[in-house]
Subunit: 109 residues, 2 copies
Amino acid sequence: MALIDQTLLALADPTRRAILARLAQGEATVMELAAPFRMTQPAISHHLKVLEKAGLIARSREGTRRPCRLTPVGLAPLDAWLSDLRANLERSFARLDDLLAEGDPPEET
Amino acid sequence: MALIDQTLLALADPTRRAILARLAQGEATVMELAAPFRMTQPAISHHLKVLEKAGLIARSREGTRRPCRLTPVGLAPLDAWLSDLRANLERSFARLDDLLAEGDPPEET
DNA sequence: ATCTTATATAAGTTCTATTTTATGTAAAGG
DNA sequence: CCTTTACATAAAATAGAACTTATATAAGAT
């Protein structure tokens, strides 16, 4: 699975986005992250694993606790995808402008 | 369902992202969009419906054809979510810096 | 050592998304 | 009119993601 797939699949879940939002305020343990949700701890652990595999969070060890923190670089694939898309869009607009300037109506390939 | 949910759910599928990439080059009909995929036309039609409901594409009528075009404003919810997240991150880094400057080690709430 | 706290993993279930097959509709072409 | 082309919709199958219950592990507290 491509990086961008993992990124977007991870972000597509509201619980995981809420977890990221929480982590944007600072580190938190699994239990702290689980608290706001009406959901069991294993469910949260699974969400964390998805986020970790997507490179969106990292975890350390602090005795029995496993604090999580956000790793902003994990958003890079999404940034790249977005700017790619927008670059292509602009290129296609530029082509369209050229054609219109020539008075030549654009046609499909 | 919140806007950002629809946006990210739509983007989480590789077929749909490929469709958007194709549309970044310019308008295309359903058949043209379906061609590159080993997938039936109804499947593509369904993907297009998801993209449309997310506000990522729009469709017009041209006789029997239904050309699709990208609507870049559909990415606004994602842009907003991303900058929100990053704003919070920076705020929390700022707080951390303050505390460190005071020589006061940060603690959990 | 034992108990507790914090977390992970496994198995199973339920829910939702993707895809296909089959069929319907609407416009254009003969 | 009848056929074809381009697409939509419905129903059903499949696949996959999310969640729960039950259990395991590992570190700290007693």
